[in-house]
Structures are given as structure tokens and as C-alpha cells.
């Protein structure tokens, strides 16, 4: 006699240790196996797009800080790129270099959080997480030195950056660059060969290449599936065409590939920063831009390769001081498109692992 069983609905979230914020997965379970999921968003919706329609172009920059609060600097940069495209503003050379340094530091910062949180989701009790946060702390010190705050930097400005680097910044950054490879090696020793970690992450949550492209997935998640697409190479914004770096890609697109791609990207970011630090010229850091900007009527889509994927801003200007329409292309939200396909058939524990390997920030998903 077959035992009578019933599907079981489990709400993972919105307040749950592993949902990276206030995300909710309404999972239908058959025992421990996930039969169906429905992602539920909106617990952190603050209406950024509506708020931005009433603010000046400069006043929006702090809002972008608060979207993906782990990668504020990249958000600032993406928005500023869009406005510069809209208003056709030139950026001084030194500011371009500063932007590259900041964006790559932010990428390392984000990948440290992402990798640490991912291993935590695999069940490690905070050790890799804390090791990675130690290095993130060093980076945040540098960000604090430059911008005055540790998380919401508000540093980029239309036409450059708000202030020049302090004198003690570059020596400190060089010191960091010197010691960081040893730390990355330490993380790799700690967890990369760990059999339990491999068993939990390898061949788990496979995202096929075609599905990744079709779902508009970008960033490390897409690259882990073998999509060799990096806007820094494909559509070099700023001065990225002057730097030499590789695009690490994965082979199968499993959770472990997403993790290793992030670790490899950190090394590439270090390479870029090293080159930028070598070549950074002196000069002004902001071009002559009016404090209250009136871009011409039109529209612009500025995007960059953010740490989580393609982060874009679509701006429509009606010639006023505030954008007529401000739309964000949030990589965190769009990378979740394939979540359902990735999760079905796996166990709850795998669901947490796979979800962690996508690396989202709820501030950006819900905006």
C-alpha cells in the first residue's frame, strides 16, 4: 500500500537567516524535495524610481547608494555614466582612473561578501565569512578614507568624482594589493578543496548557458554558465579598454562554478587596480558641470558591469532638473528569473545553496 503523502508548503522567508534580506520563497515541498517555488518580492520596496523623479540629478546619487548597499560605488558609477551619456559630459582623465579603482575595489568587496555568504549558506559556521569580512573591512577603510562613509559612499558625481584621493590613499591601497593575493590563497586553502563543500556545491543548481542568456542573466552567474560576456570587454565604458584582464568563465554553471568565478574575478580586479594605480595621472577630478543639471530632452541607457551583473539606468529627460523617468535595470532581480528552473527537484538545503550562489541584495531587487 502506497503511503498517502501530501505536498507541504514552506515559507522560506521573509525573515530567515539565509534569504540575504527580506526575500520570501514560497516553496512546495514533497518531503525535503522542492516541487514548486514562487519567489515573493517587495518587502523592501521603497519606490526609488518614483522618488528619483522628484529629485535633482545630483540628489539621486545618494538614492543609488541605497539600492544595492553592498556595491554602492558601482551603483553611483552606473547612474553617473547614464547621466553623462544623457547630458554629454566629459570626464577628466584622473577621475576616470579613480572610477576604475573604486569600481574594482567595490567588485572585490562584493565578491568577498558573496563568496562568504555562499559558503555560510552551505553550512560553514561563519569562518570563511569572517575571514572574508576581514579583508572587506580593509577595503571599507579605504572607501571611508576617500568618501567619508563606509557603506553609502555617494562619491561619484556627474562629470567626475566629488573629491580627489587623499595623499595617504595610494600607499595604503598598494599595501592592500600586496597582501590580498595571500589572503585569497588562504580562502582557497580553507574551502576550495573541502570535500563537504564540493559535495554541497558541485553539479548543484546547474544553469544551462542558453537558459542563462534567455533569462537575461548577467555577471558572474552568467559567466559561470560559460557565457563569455563582460561589459568591461564587450562595451568598454570609461577607460576599461586600456587595461589588461581576463574574463574568468565556468564550465558547467553549477553553484561551485559561480563561487570559483567570483574568486577568479577578484584576482582580475586586483590586476586592474594594479595597472590603474601605476598609470593614474594628476589633474582635476571633476569637469565643469553646473550644480543643477539640465540635460537636453532625450533618453539614455547607461550600463556597466556591476559586481552582480549588468547594472543599467534608463533615463528619460524632459529638460527639467529632475529625470522624467528613472528606470533601473537591477541585476539582482533579473538574475532571479531562472530561480524556479534552478531550484525544482533539489532539496531545501540545496535551495539555500543555489539561492546563495546567485548573490542578490534585496535592496536592489525591491528598490
Amino acid at each position: 500500500m502506497a503511503l498517502h503523502t501530501e505536498p507541504f508548503i514552506l515559507n522560506i522567508g521573509p525573515v530567515h537567516p539565509s534569504t540575504h534580506g527580506v526575500f520570501r520563497i514560497r516553496a512546495t515541498l514533497d518531503g525535503e524535495v522542492i516541487v514548486d517555488i514562487e519567489p515573493v518580492f517587495g518587502y523592501l520596496h521603497r519606490g526609488v524610481e518614483k522618488l528619483a523623479e522628484q529629485r535633482t540629478y545630483t540628489g539621486i546619487i545618494p538614492l543609488t547608494d541605497r539600492m544595492d548597499y553592498i556595491t554602492s560605488m558601482s551603483n553611483n558609477l552606473a547612474y553617473v555614466l547614464a547621466v553623462e551619456k544623457l547630458a554629454k559630459v566629459k570626464v577628466p582623465e584622473r577621475a576616470e582612473y579613480i572610477r576604475v579603482i573604486m569600481a574594482e575595489m567595490q567588485r572585490i568587496c562584493n565578491h568577498l561578501v558573496a563568496a562568504g555568504a555562499f559558503i555560510n549558506d552551505c553550512g560553514a559556521f561563519f569562518t570563511p565569512f569572517l575571514y572574508m569580512f576581514r579583508e572587506r573591512e580593509k577595503l571599507m577603510d579605504l572607501f571611508e578614507m576617500v568618501s567619508g562613509q563606509r557603506l553609502t559612499y555617494n562619491y561619484m558625481r556627474v562629470g567626475g568624482v566629488s573629491q580627489d584621493l587623499p595623499a595617504e590613499f595610494l600607499p595604503a591601497l598598494r599595501k592592500f594589493l600586496k597582501e590580498m593575493p595571500a589572503h585569497i590563497a588562504e580562502y582557497e586553502r580553507l574551502i576550495n578543496d573541502n570535500e563537504i563543500f564540493l559535495a554541497r556545491s558541485r553539479m548543484i543548481g546547474i544553469l544551462p548557458k542558453e537558459l542563462a542568456i534567455n533569462c537575461g542573466i548577467s555577471g558572474p552567474v552568467a559567466r559561470a554558465s560559460g557565457v563569455k560576456w563582460d561589459l568591461r570587454k564587450a562595451d568598454p565604458y570609461g577607460i576599461y579598454d586600456r587595461f589588461e584582464f581576463d574574463i574568468p568563465t565556468g564550465t558547467v554553471g553549477d553553484a561551485n562554478d559561480r563561487y570559483t568565478v567570483r574568486i577568479a574575478e577578484m584576482k582580475q580586479s586586483l590586476r586592474i587596480i594594479e595597472q590603474a594605480v601605476e598609470k593614474i595621472p594628476a589633474g582635476p577630478v571633476i569637469s565643469d558641470v553646473p550644480k543643477v543639471l539640465h540635460p537636453p530632452v532625450g533618453e539614455a541607457y547607461g550600463h556597466l558591469e556591476g559586481p552582480k551583473g549588468e547594472l543599467g539606468f534608463y533615463l528619460v529627460s524632459d529638460g527639467g532638473i529632475a529625470p522624467y523617468r528613472f528606470h533601473v535595470r537591477p541585476p539582482s532581480l533579473i538574475n532571479l528569473t531562472a530561480l524556479r528552473q534552478m531550484l525544482i527537484g533539489w532539496k531545501i538545503q540545496d535551495a539555500i545553496t543555489i539561492f546563495g550562489s546567485i548573490d542578490i541584495t534585496m535592496g536592489e531587487v525591491d528598490r
Binding site: 518580492f41 517587495g42 520596496h45 537575461g216 568598454p236 533618453e299 541607457y301 523617468r325 535595470r329
Partner: protein, 146 residues
């Protein structure tokens, strides 16, 4: 460098494949008729010279007398990009066909547009509010919402 294809060049090609589908071929974008949206999108995705396999974003803009849906697509093989748009003049009950069957990436974004602007995407299997709760009145990103 990604080449931003001019709508002026692409518009006639779409018009050739699907007669009567293009309303306007501006330098920056192609304006499509809503009825032909899904067919045009399929053409753009499957035509080997276009091969727009990657959907950057979907959004909509409220221009008071009409809603304009904006799509940006990129081809990863040819490394070029195109923006196409479509318009819906109904303000009470705006409907635009969904392109989720062409690019799955439109899933959450179309829901977001529906939630915040009230443009219903026909053919989307799960067209309901995404950020705001069920029963929320109005669509906040409309210009007349206060």
C-alpha cells in the same frame, strides 16, 4: 565596443520581414505596432543577422496620453544592441503583448511594469503585482498618481 544599431537601418528590415509592423524608424529606436510586437521580437531574435539573444531591460514610460514600452536588446554573437518601443494609447486599461515567450528575462520586469505603471502584458502566465501587495490601489509610477 557594442555597436548601437540605428533604428533607421533596422526599421526597414523589420518592415520588410513583417509588412506594416513599423510605425517609426528614429535614429535611436524602432517604434513597433503593438500587434506585431511578439512577431517582430521573434524575428529580431531568430534572424541570423540580428540574433538579439539577450534582453537588457523592459520598461515603460508614462507620457500622459500614451504609455511607451521600451525594450533594449543585445546580441552577444554580433555585439550590437537595439532599442525598440511600442505604444499603447489606452489609459484606463492599457494592454501590450508580452514577450516572455521570446525572452524569458522579461518575466519579472513585465510584472514590475504592470505593478508600478499598470500596463497589462497579455500572454504573461503570471501577471500580478510583484512589489506591492495584492489589492493596492493605483499604480505609483504613473504621473497622475500622487
Amino acid at each position: 565596443m557594442t555597436v548601437a544599431l540605428a533604428g533607421k537601418d533596422i526599421g526597414p528590415q523589420i518592415e520588410k520581414a513583417l509588412p506594416g509592423s513599423v510605425l517609426e524608424s528614429a535614429p535611436g529606436y524602432v517604434m513597433l505596432k503593438p500587434e506585431f510586437l511578439v512577431q517582430a521580437a521573434t524575428f529580431l531574435k531568430n534572424d541570423p543577422a540580428m540574433a538579439f539573444d539577450y534582453l537588457n531591460f523592459v520598461t515603460a514610460v508614462d507620457y500622459y496620453d500614451y504609455f511607451e514600452a521600451v525594450y533594449q536588446v543585445t546580441s552577444m554573437t554580433h555585439n550590437h544592441t537595439l532599442m525598440f518601443k511600442t505604444r499603447c494609447y489606452n489609459r484606463v486599461d492599457p494592454v501590450i503583448p508580452s514577450i516572455i515567450n521570446v525572452w524569458q528575462g522579461a518575466d519579472f520586469q513585465e510584472r514590475e511594469v504592470y505593478d508600478l505603471l499598470g500596463v497589462y502584458f497579455e500572454g504573461h502566465p503570471n501577471m500580478k503585482r510583484i512589489f506591492l501587495w495584492e489589492g493596492f490601489e493605483g499604480h505609483p509610477l504613473r504621473k497622475d498618481y500622487l
